[in-house]
């Protein structure tokens, strides 16, 4: 099919630092065309003022996520044919739940601050002078850690989460998912501290299990399950016989 003669009507939600507005663009369609390509075409050929962000082009960096027809997606890995509607139109907007800096570029600093608040970083118990840990490939805890490890912090789950939308203190699915991964990492030395950090007012118990995060995660992770794991663990922790890992 040669669709090069046709165009796509693209509506973009804009913000110039003061005012929110929309622009509409007629973008030539191509056989091989992602949403990132559409945004690039607009900026290069129609409206140089459009601001957006991308880096790796292949779904590894998580810089280019945006709302496409109301759903958060990596723009670099979303083929136009999979999202375009019958009337050949497309709507593009920045991720929600993060302050918009300009047009499609959002401020992710709070997202990463929460990652740190959730103790979403490894706390060592060994040093570089020690040998690598021997952990067999069928280790149960490791298998659980691996289930949720391949997060690229693109912010899609955070953007999809209605609890974040309602409560801006909530740590959100990405940070909690990372915390859960580390709770299953037997090499980590701060699991109690982390459990305390994620079970406070802004923590895992805010989650209403609406699964927006798991629905939209492009890496097919299940942050909602991770959060459920954290909830279980904080509750087990209150029992007189102490925590269990399941």
């Amino acid at each position: 099919m040669n669709s090069n003669a046709k165009t796509l009507t693209v509506t973009v939600d804009r913000f110039d630092g003061d005012t929110h507005y929309q622009t509409t663009h007629e973008v030539p369609t191509r056989d091989n065309q992602t949403v990132l390509d559409v945004v690039t075409w607009i900026q290069q050929h129609d409206d140089p003022t459009l601001a957006y962000r991308f880096a790796c082009r292949v779904g590894m960096c998580g810089s280019c996520a945006m709302n496409v027809n109301g759903e958060p997606k990596w723009s670099c890995r979303t083929h136009v044919s999979k999202v375009v509607s019958g009337d050949a139109s497309l709507s593009i907007a920045p991720l929600r739940n993060m302050p918009v800096l300009r047009d499609l570029s959002v401020d992710m600093s709070e997202f990463f601050d929460k990652w740190t608040q959730a103790v979403g970083y490894f706390v060592p118990t060994k040093t570089k002078d020690d040998p690598l840990s021997e952990i067999t490939s069928d280790d149960r805890a490791r298998a659980k850690a691996n289930q949720s490890i391949e997060c690229i912090n693109c912010g899609i789950c955070y953007s999809a989460c209605d609890v974040v939308a309602a409560n801006d203190a909530y740590l959100g699915p990405a940070a909690l998912n990372r915390a859960w991964t580390l709770m299953n990492d037997e090499r980590d030395g701060a699991r109690q501290t982390r459990l305390d950090a994620v079970s406070g007012d802004a923590g895992c118990h805010n989650c209403h299990s609406q699964h927006g995060c798991s629905t939209y995660c492009p890496n097919l992770l299940a942050p909602a399950s991770s959060i459920a794991g954290l909830k279980r663990q904080t509750l087990m922790n209150l029992l007189p016989w102490g925590p269990s890992d399941d």
């Binding site: 390509d37 991308f54 990492d185």
Partner: protein, 582 residues
């Protein structure tokens, strides 16, 4: 023109493996000093370490040794590597991998017995590539990034470095001039020590793999600052970049090496295999040979519809392919290609620049206080980089740089006084495109990418290179006559595209000149008019530096400080160490 001034003790440019490692080491060594990372995109998200699929070469297993890793690196680099750089790389890698796991939280794949799994990778005599599935870079950068976020390191995100500023008194580094890409304002960051780790990234070719933020700004700044670069003709092409046609950023992105290793076929436009015409190993030959084979097919007109060749996996069973290469198959599927069962068009794609700034093995440069690490530094790889030595290089030397910078900055009382003239001049130069009438810089960009691909690419000869040089210089003239219509500096992507192009044109000229100066074929550099490798014992490397308005290319003899051609550090070929035998 006014600018804002920020003062820090230690400044790091770039947040790939080198930059993040340097920040962590510097902060650990000198917790009371302020450490600042400036990055063109978001911290840990731009740059190329994150995109590493293969893994991390390190001699860990019984039977392997630093010497063996070193010999593979030297032979892979066709005897051009700086041997002390290569030795430092191989010797430090084991400590670095333990640091990554034990202190920073990375976790790499394991064998059934609990030891770390090391896979085979092309060009190596031992299975030594540590990995996390095929997403090793994400694991490394993810862990480094969250540590940097947690440790009180200052961040300047979406800040583009535009000039290295030295002191007018003694030539010591005084800081770096930047553009805050959000506000469009100029920012001078003063520092006692500076690391340049912006990553090379040969994005001046029509087909290229590095991330979109890469534009050789670091090496262009280094040239303007008078630093000497080496090995700039050495551009590694990956044979299988996705070919999606014009107008899509998917074009050029890597389809992984393992596809050919697993038995994938390359087919020309007639859907016939062709690699056995070029090498007995067929599709499993090394990157440079496969790239040249594909290029030859393309030149003879036997192309797929978009002008490349096909990769075909279906004969291995689509289900097997989909399970073994799930990430790759999904990526292709998202973008509309059926890798598991169909034909996907591919083309050689510029992947890595072995060349870079001449540094000492402890990452120092000719400018006191300025350090360079990662892909911006030359020497460790010589004429070719082994798969798996890239991320080892950036993390090893990034860590060394962090230690060195912390030590040096701790001993310095006062910041060097920045040369005001340099600052004013740089601001003027960067504002130039705003003063000219707006024109089409996309055409200049397309012309540059096509010129480099056609004249300075996979196969080179004197005539084509000379034509390329003329074209590159003409494009510079054209760029300097073409402005940016959009005058507001805040979030002005067109302005930054112009600045990207300027860096790419400068470094393209140096690549072209260096390629002309090497009248033999080594590793990634292939001269059709000089197809032989030349005498190994009299190996030279090319150097390039800027003198007024021209680039000066020289040759320097390779110093065989540890091993000479024909010799080996291994007791005898394929010998295993005694402890393994006993």
């Amino acid at each position: 023109m006014s600018y804002q001034t920020i003062t820090t003790d230690i400044l790091i440019l770039g947040s790939g493996g080198a930059g993040l490692f340097a920040a962590l080491h510097a902060k650990k060594q000198a917790p009371d000093l302020s450490v600042t990372i400036a990055v063109k995109g978001l911290l840990g998200k731009c740059g190329c370490t994150r995109m590493v699929q293969g893994g991390y070469n390190v001699a860990l297993a019984p039977g392997d040794s630093v010497e063996r890793h070193f010999m593979d690196t030297i032979e892979g680099g066709k005897w051009l590597p700086h041997q002390e750089m290569a030795w430092t790389l191989c010797q430090t890698a084991p400590e670095r991998i333990r640091e990554l796991e034990n202190e920073l939280g990375c976790f790499f794949d394991r064998n059934p017995d609990g030891s770390v799994h090391q896979k085979a990778f092309a060009g190596q005599t031992f299975d030594r590539t540590v990995h996390k599935g095929d997403l090793t870079g994400i694991e490394i950068i993810g862990r480094l990034m969250e540590q940097v976020h947690a440790r009180g390191i200052n961040k300047l995100e979406e800040h583009r470095a535009i000039e290295l500023i030295v002191s007018s008194n003694d030539g010591r580094i005084a800081g770096v001039l930047m553009i805050d890409m959000r506000s469009g304002e100029f920012v001078l960051v003063r520092a006692k020590t500076v690391l340049m780790a912006t990553g090379g990234g040969p994005t001046m070719y029509r087909y290229h793999t590095p991330s979109g933020d890469k534009s050789m700004d670091g090496l262009a700044m280094a040239l303007r600052a008078g630093l000497t670069l080496r090995d700039m003709e050495m551009v590694q092409f990956h044979p299988t970049g996705l070919l999606g046609g014009e107008g899509t950023r998917m074009t050029g992105t890597v389809l992984e090496e393992g596809l050919r290793g697993a038995g994938g076929y390359l087919l020309n436009g007639n859907k016939e295999r062709f690699m056995f015409q070029y090498d007995d190993r067929g599709e499993r030959a090394t990157r440079d040979i496969v790239s040249r084979g594909i290029y030859e097919e393309m030149r003879s007109g036997q192309t797929s519809p978009l002008g490349g060749v096909y990769i075909s996996m279906g004969h291995l069973g689509p289900d097997m392919v989909a399970s073994k290469f799930s990430g790759m198959v999904k990526r292709c599927a998202d973008c509309g290609f059926d890798l598991a069962g169909g034909l996907v068009e591919v083309v050689p794609t510029a992947h890595y620049l072995m060349g870079g700034v001449i540094v000492t093995p402890d990452t120092r440069t000719e400018i006191p206080g300025l350090f360079v690490a990662g892909e911006d530094a030359g020497g460790a790889h010589g004429s070719n980089r082994l798969g798996g030595n890239g991320v080892a290089n950036s993390t090893v030397f990034g860590g060394i740089a962090g230690d060195q910078m912390a030590e040096e900055a701790s001993s310095i009382q006062h910041h060097a006084e920045p040369d005001q003239h340099l600052i004013d001049q740089a601001i003027e130069r960067n504002l130039n495109p705003m003063r000219l009438n707006g024109g089409s810089i996309h055409e200049i960009r397309e012309d540059l990418l096509n010129t480099m691909w056609e004249h300075v690419g996979v196969m080179r000869n004197a005539e084509a290179l000379s034509q390329g040089l003329t074209k590159i210089r003409a494009l510079r003239t054209e760029l300097y006559a073409t402005g940016i219509a959009l005058k507001a500096r805040s979030f002005n992507m067109a302005w930054h595209e112009w600045l990207n192009l300027e860096s790419l044109i400068d470094t393209s000229e140096v690549i072209c000149l260096s390629a002309l100066a090497r009248d033999n074929s080594r590793g990634a550099h292939f001269r059709e008019d000089f197809p032989e490798a030349g005498d190994l014992n009299s190996s030279f490397f090319t150097t390039a530096h800027q003198s007024r308005d021209t680039y000066v290319i020289n040759r320097r003899p390779v110093e065989f400080s540890r091993v000479k051609p024909g010799e080996s550090l291994l007791a005898s070929e394929n010998a295993l160490p005694e402890e393994v035998i006993s």
